[in-house]
């Protein structure tokens, strides 16, 4: 009797674990303006850091500007429409995913996390 009950208990446990694994707790991000990204979103999730790092060296040392993978452009599209920032809470575009993935985010210790408010927009 007990053996049977234990077996049922464990099978329920395993089934629920499998169910949970099927539906992971993915972060719900505020993507800001969103729209067409410079690359496929899945590719961006994987390698955005490499693209940014490559371009930062080109800009810093060679003065090459206006290229596709710009951090300022990331912020411009993805800063929240309410807070105007990609940081600040766990739904914010950059912070939300980095907290979920437990990866330290260094960019915004120097770079601004806020969308640049143009003179026209602030009127």
């Amino acid at each position: 009797m007990w053996i049977r009950l234990t077996a049922i208990f464990f099978s329920v446990l395993i089934a629920s674990a499998v169910y949970a694994a099927d539906k992971p707790q993915i972060p719900h991000l505020d993507i800001g303006k969103g729209g067409q990204c410079v690359e496929d979103p899945q590719l961006m999730r994987k390698i955005h850091m490499n693209l940014l790092k490559h371009q930062r060296d080109e800009t810093m040392h060679k003065g090459i500007r206006g290229q596709k993978y710009s951090l300022a452009e990331c912020v411009d599209c993805h800063a929240s429409k309410t807070t105007n920032s990609v940081l600040g809470n766990n739904e914010a575009f950059c912070q939300g995913c980095h907290v979920y993935a437990a990866v330290k985010l260094d960019c915004f210790e120097c770079h601004t996390s806020k969308r640049k408010v143009t003179a026209e927009a602030s009127k």
Partner: protein, 256 residues
Amino acid sequence: MNQANIDTNPNLDAKTNLDRRDFLTKSSVGLAGLAIAPGMLLFDLAHGRAQDEAVSNKVRWGMLIDNNQCESGCNDCVTACNTENGLSGGTKPTDSQWIRKVQLKDTHSGHISSLPMMCQHCDEPPCVDVCPTQASFKRADGIVLVDKHICIGCRYCVMACPYQARSFVHEVLTDQKTEVPRGKGTVESCTLCVHRIDKGETTACAEACTKAGHNAILFGDLNDPESAIAKRIRSVASTQIRADLGLNTGIRYEGI
């Protein structure tokens, strides 16, 4: 995460859009090169360089500061620099100062003059020599910069600079300017408004000085014999501060 989710092929929509973007970029660059007359371009590029072209040593940026035009009480260049680069404007030892006004007094005659002092953008910068991580570097067009991505904040360059032009960021900063990233634990100094130069503009201090009507700061390309600054340096006597060090500074002074 399911492996099947990771799809490295951009979808068709993205591809079409990128092709379009590519086409527009290239065609605009092509258009910008259209000459309407010899030596005259239909659209002006950033100081003759396309945005996606690397800087070259054909250009050397510099400034000529006319000490006779610089007014003693005027602080407009300092204020403009602070506003442009998002500096606090404080003058405590721990505050960043990229440019400061210095008063000189001739002890014999009693004559007082004042001049702006900032990074002199040396041809052979001591700060670059001593940097252990090569974070302090000279760009091909003569602008001396700190790559804050690789600066470890050792402050060796601060000590090596004969002009005391460098500052260290001691505190966490917020609300930096988009074009001027600054952060705690790194060294910084005058960038010769590199973000403006790359757009084809002049420096914030020179602009403010002209606006105030003093015209004491002349910005330009020292290598171009036809530029206003090169012509002026050829025609009047100008000095480099601490010329004895042989650093060949990009900032020159007139009338000191």
